[in-house]
């Protein structure tokens, strides 16, 4: 199970928020990854609710996870609580943004 979780996170690291320029894991948008025998559920948020780019980022996340899902059902569950805030950005991400 753990290896599927790791592959999911690696897949999600290829999903770039086109405005911020970093991947969704580094930005801190991915809150949880739940693995079941026949499904993968990613619990994630967006930097701003109603961001017009949102559906596109979520679709990319779904496509990326489906590519490694090995036949499992993939669900991207969007949550707004807790709302994302800049403190959720990883240290590496902060350093790259400051450059």
């Amino acid at each position: 199970m753990d290896s599927v979780k790791i592959s999911t996170l690696i897949a999600l690291k290829s999903v770039i928020d086109p405005e911020v320029g970093l991947d969704v894991v580094t930005i801190g948008l991915v809150y949880a990854v739940e693995i079941a025998p026949d499904s993968i559920t990613v619990v994630m948020t967006l930097t701003t609710p109603n961001c017009p780019m949102g559906p596109s980022i979520l679709a990319m996340a779904k496509d990326a996870v489906e590519a490694i899902a090995d036949g499992r059902q993939v669900e991207i569950r969007t949550v707004w609580n807790p709302p994302w805030n800049p403190a959720m950005l990883s240290q590496g991400g902060r350093e790259r943004l400051a450059r």
Partner: protein, 445 residues
Amino acid sequence: MGSPPIQITQAPPLNAGAAPFLAKATPFWLPMRHFVAAAFSFWLFAAALAWGNERLLGFSFDASWALGLTHLLTLGWVTMTIMGALIQLMVVVHEVPFSAPGRLAWAWALLTAGTAGFVGSLWAGWDRYWIPAALAFAGVIVYLQVFVESLLKGGKLDWSGRHIALALSYLSLVILLGLMLAYDRERGLIFRDPRGVLIAHIHLALIGWVTLMIVGVSYRLVAMFSLSHIESKTPGIAALILANIGLTGLVLDCLFASRRLLPVWATILAAAYAAYAYQMNGIFRGRLRRIDPALGYTLLALFGGAVWAALGLGLSFGFVPDDTPREIAYILAALLGWVTPFILGQIHKIVPFLVWLHVFSPKNWRPPLQIPRTQDLASEKAAWWEMGFLAAAAYALIGGFLLESPGLIRLGSWSLLSCATLYAANTALTLSFLKRPWTPSKSRP
């Protein structure tokens, strides 16, 4: 990653899935045609100023030409861009889309035709320029009607949203007074103190319409683009209250009380600006992002706003003589020192974003296929040069009119033309991705 400590709640579904959501998104050309018309107006303004700047000083001062020039910038560039941006921002700030895209396209056509006719008649010396101006008025009314209808469909009116709704209400007053002034200039029947009405029109426009819009939007967009957050809204709330008191007092004083208390209103308005600047300082201090051209422009605008407020205080207290060249310097401080850099900063984000959304928003995407970031769709170097030219232009022009120096005015107008040309070229570069493919740069991380 780590699980968040707070309880997670399910969000309502966003628009739709991947590719299908584009069918529901705002049509590309609905906001974009505003930006294209606005870029053209900005360029034409700069070209006309470079070509005819001697008509703005001394004995050769040409009032009709100057009035046409002002409205090419205020209606053609500023109002047009804000209206386009609001089409995009409506969903973000008010959480409802504009409900009638067809009528918005009509509003755009009326505003464009009205502005072209208004400016064209002034430049051609036709006295009845209030007739085409009425078309621009109709365009704004249609736009406002669609805005209100959309808001009534459950739109949210938060802190930023309230600024926007107020700004649009002030816009309707601006245009109504403008139309009456234009009619009165030809017939001389309506106002006993046209100068008071002119001051009211100018301030309803520059503070009520444009500045309140910028202030409301900046709390949301600058915080979002800089990856910062607002800890306390108190300074911003103070700014909103003070700005409305100062503006209402000034307008009532100008319309009905012979402008007796102008220094009082100017002081209140300057205090409002100081509170806003303090709030913005907090946003900039908390940011996680480096200063890119969009944020650089915002800083330039914040500086310009302070210069504008200082000149306003100077004029109202009599430290700066209240005559035509100094009034032009004051209006230019608002329009080129404060409003234009702010608009350019945001538009440098919005136009690439729209192209990304409609062209690169992936359908059936699979890693490791690379897609551009929004910043890959424009030239950052050109944007920095543009900003340099704008800074040089604004301060050479403000200084030029304060000192009545034709040399500085000429320098400023040519710098502005360089800025507007680069901006048009950068916009064209972004739009070129509608037709040509994007190739990833090797240097990209």
